[in-house]
Amino acid sequence: MRPTLRVNVFRQSLIVSGLFVLGLLVVNLAVFKPSTVAVVMLSGLYQGMLFFLIAAGMSIVFGLLDVLNLAQGAFFMLGAYAGFAIYGALPAGTPIEARFLAALLGAAVTGGLAGALMEVGLLRPLYARPVYQIVMTLGLSTALNEMVRAIYGPAGLVPIEEPPALATTFTVLGGQFETYRVFIIVVGAALMLGISLLLQRTRLGIIIRAGVQDSEMVQALGINVRRIFTLVFALGTAVAALGGMTAAPFLGAYPGMGTDFLLVAIIVIVIGGMSSYEGTAVASLLVGLTRATAEQISLQYFNTPILASVSILLFMVAVLLVRPTGLFGRE
C-alpha cells in the first residue's frame, strides 16, 4: 500500500501551526507582563473567531463554486444592520435577552436569504466567467455599503446593549477582560465545531466535500448541484451576517464595517490554503493571535497599531513563499 502522504502533510501543518502558537506565546511572555499576555491571548482568540465567521463561508464557497465572494464583508455589515432593526422593532418591554437572541437569529436569516438571492440572481449567470464573478461580488459589496449609507446615513449606529449577564468584566492573571468577548469566542468555537460536524457527519457534508473535487460527477450521481451551491452560499453568508450581529455590541453598525474584516478574511483563507476548511479554522486563530501580539508590541514601542495589519500581511507573504498553496492547501 502506498504511504498516506496527504495525512502526513495535514499532520505536519498542524504541528507547524502549534509550534507557531507556542512561539507567539514565548514572544508574548518575553515582551509583556503576565496580565498583558492574558489579555493579548484572549483578544487574539476573539479577533480570530470574528475572522473565522467571515472566512468560513468564503473558503467553503470558494472550494465548491470557485467563486471568491468579496461581498462577504458586506454581509457581515448587513447582519449588524438587520440585527439592529429587529432589536429596535421589538417592543421596549421585551427582556433584553430575548431581543438580543431575536436579533442574532434574524441577522443570520436575513444574511442567508440575501445570499441565496445573490447566488441565484447575480452569480449564476456568470459561472463561465470567473473574473467577472469576482468583480461582480466586489461591485455588490460596494453597492450594499452605499445602500446602507444612503438609508441609514454615513455615521453608523450606536452599539446596542448586550444582555446584562454579558456586560460584565472579569480578571485573568491581573488583566481586565470583557465577558462579551468570551461570548464571541464561544459563539465562534461553537460554529467552528458545528460546521466541522456538518461537513464530516451529514449527507450534505459528504456532497460538499465531493463537490469541491468534482461537482460534475456529483451531478451525474443524481444530485442537483445547483441547489446545493445556493444552499451552501446562503449558509456562508448567514454565518457572516451572524458574525456581524455578534460583533455589533462592540463595533456598532456602520457602512464599510465589513471591509476591514474582509481583507483579513482573505489573508486567513490564503494562509489556510484556499478551500480547506480545517486550514481556514486554524489560520483564523493564527492570524488573530499574530495580529493581537503585533498590535500590542507596536503600541508599546511605536505608539501606533501599525504592525497589527502589516504583520498579518507579512505572515501571508511568508507562508506563500514557503508553501505556495497555503498551510493546508492542496497542489
Binding site: A150, I267, L313
Partner: protein, 423 residues
C-alpha cells in the same frame, strides 16, 4: 473684434486644421501613421504651449504654417476615396480620435467662449481630460497583465501610488531635479515589478492576485500611518513643488498634451509589444501555459517582461498623477486604483488595444458629467456624484450582461461574424 483677438482666432483655426490634418499628412509621407501622429501631438503641444506663453509670435505662426503645409501636401497627394477609407478603417479611427483630442482644448474654448490658456471652462475641462489620460494609461497597463498575459492582479495600485509618491518624495525630500525624480520613480516601478515578479509569479492564479493585493495593501497602510508622518504626511498626504513648465495650474495646456502624448506612447508600447514575437508568446502563455513551456519557452521570463512593462506604465501614470496634483495621498495606493482600471478594462474590452482607453474615457467622463446631477426616483433624491460607486456598480453589472466581452470586444466579434457571413 480687436485685431489681437482676430489673429488669436486665426491661430486657433490654424492649429485646429493642423491637428486634424497633419496626422494624415504624415501617414502619407512616411507610412507609419501612429508614430508620426504621436510626434505630431508632441509638436502641437509645443506650439500650443508657446502660444499660451507668448501669444501669437512669429514662431507660432511659422509652426502653424508648417503644419498646415504638410496637411496640404498630404491632401494633394491622396485621392478623396483613399481618405474616406482611411477614416473608416481602424487606423483611421485611431487617427481621427487622436486628432480630435489634439484639437479638443481649442474646440472647448470656442464652444464655451473661453480661452484655452487661462482660467475658465476650457481650462477646467483640460484638467478633467488629464485625469482621463492618466486613468487610460493605468487601464492600458492593467489590460497588458490581465487581458493579454492573463494574470489577474489586485495590487496594481501599488505601481500607481508608488509612482506618485516617489516622484514627490525624491523632489521634495532628496532635492532631485524633476527629470531625475521621474527617472527615479520609473526605476522604483521596475524594482517593484521585479520583486513582484520574482516572488509572486511562482504563485499561480488567484493566489497571485491575493498576493498582489496584500503587497499593495502594505504600502497603503504604511503611507497612511502616523509613524512616517514627517515624510509622507500620513493620511493627509503631502504636497510638493514642481517646475513651472510642469505646473498644471500655470501651464495646463502643455500638461494636457503631455498627458495625451503619454497615453499614445503607452498605447503604442503595448501594441508593439503584443505584435512582436514576445507578444505572441505571452498570448500563448495566457491560453495554455503548460503548452508554451513544452514548446521550450521559459514562460517565467516572458511574464516577468510583461510585468515590468506594465509596472513602468502604471508607475508612469502615477508620476503624472503626482505631478498634476503636485501632491500624493494614501488613496492613490488604495483598492480603488486597482479596481477602477480593472472595471475600465472589462467594460471597454479585455485583450483589445483600444478597449481599456475607451473604458477609461467612458467611465471617467460619465462620472464627471454626472458629478452634480441629482436624480429623483420615487420621491428619493439621489446625488449621483456622492453615489458614484453604487452607480458604477450598476453600470458594470449591466455592461457585463449586455457586452460579455466588453464593448470593443463584443463589437469586434459581431463585426467578424457579419463579415464571415458575407460571401
Amino acid at each position: 473684434m480687436t485685431k489681437a483677438s482676430r489673429s488669436a482666432g486665426l491661430i486657433w483655426l490654424g492649429l485646429l486644421a493642423a491637428a486634424l490634418l497633419i496626422p494624415y499628412g504624415f501617414a502619407a509621407l512616411t507610412g507609419t501613421p501612429a508614430q508620426d501622429a504621436a510626434g505630431l501631438a508632441g509638436w502641437a503641444s509645443a506650439a500650443a504651449a508657446a502660444y499660451c506663453a507668448k501669444g501669437p509670435t512669429p514662431l507660432v505662426w511659422l509652426q502653424a504654417g508648417l503644419l498646415a503645409g504638410l496637411a496640404a501636401a498630404s491632401l494633394a497627394g491622396r485621392r478623396l476615396g483613399a481618405w474616406a477609407e482611411a477614416v473608416a478603417g481602424a487606423r483611421g479611427g485611431y487617427l481621427t480620435g487622436l486628432a480630435a483630442l489634439a484639437a479638443l482644448p481649442f474646440l472647448i474654448a470656442a464652444v464655451t467662449n473661453s480661452s484655452a490658456c487661462t482660467r475658465g471652462q476650457a481650462f477646467f475641462w483640460q484638467a478633467i481630460f488629464v485625469d482621463v489620460f492618466i486613468m487610460a494609461i493605468l487601464a492600458i497597463s492593467y489590460n497588458l497583465m490581465f487581458g493579454f498575459v492573463g494574470v489577474v492582479s489586485f495590487g496594481h495600485a501599488a505601481f500607481f501610488g508608488l509612482g506618485a509618491y516617489s516622484v514627490g518624495l525624491l523632489m521634495e525630500h532628496l532635492g532631485w531635479p524633476w527629470w531625475g525624480a521621474v527617472l527615479g520613480a520609473l526605476a522604483i516601478s521596475v524594482a517593484i515589478a521585479l520583486i513582484k515578479g520574482f516572488v509572486g509569479l511562482r504563485i499561480r492564479g488567484l493566489y497571485f492576485a491575493l498576493f498582489t493585493l496584500a503587497f499593495a495593501q502594505v504600502f497603503f497602510l504604511l503611507a497612511g500611518n502616523r509613524l512616517l508622518v514627517n515624510v509622507t504626511g500620513a493620511e493627509d498626504g503631502f504636497t510638493f513643488a514642481v517646475p513651472d513648465f510642469l505646473n498644471m495650474t500655470k501651464n495646463r495646456l502643455f500638461f494636457y498634451y503631455l498627458g495625451l502624448a503619454a497615453m499614445v506612447l503607452a498605447f503604442l508600447v503595448v501594441r508593439q509589444l503584443m505584435r512582436s514575437p514576445t507578444g505572441r508568446v505571452l498570448v500563448a502563455v495566457r491560453d495554455n501555459e503548460n503548452r508554451a513551456q513544452m514548446l521550450g519557452y521559459n514562460t517565467f521570463y516572458f511574464k516577468l517582461i510583461a510585468i515590468v512593462i506594465a509596472g513602468v506604465l502604471a508607475g508612469g501614470a502615477g508620476v503624472l498623477r503626482g505631478l498634476s496634483l503636485k501632491g500624493a495621498s494614501p488613496e492613490v495606493l488604495g483598492l480603488d486604483f486597482t479596481m477602477t482600471p480593472l472595471i475600465m478594462t472589462l467594460v471597454g474590452g479585455q485583450a483589445t488595444f483600444v478597449g481599456p482607453v475607451l473604458g477609461a474615457f467612458g467611465l471617467h467622463l460619465l462620472e464627471d458629467f454626472l458629478r452634480d446631477t441629482v436624480v429623483t426616483v420615487a420621491g428619493v433624491s439621489i446625488n449621483v456624484g456622492e453615489r458614484w460607486a453604487l452607480i458604477l456598480g450598476v453600470i458594470f453589472i449591466l455592461i457585463v450582461i449586455v457586452f460579455p466581452y466588453g464593448i470593443v470586444g463584443t463589437v469586434q466579434n459581431e463585426w467578424r461574424k457579419r463579415r464571415a457571413r458575407r460571401p
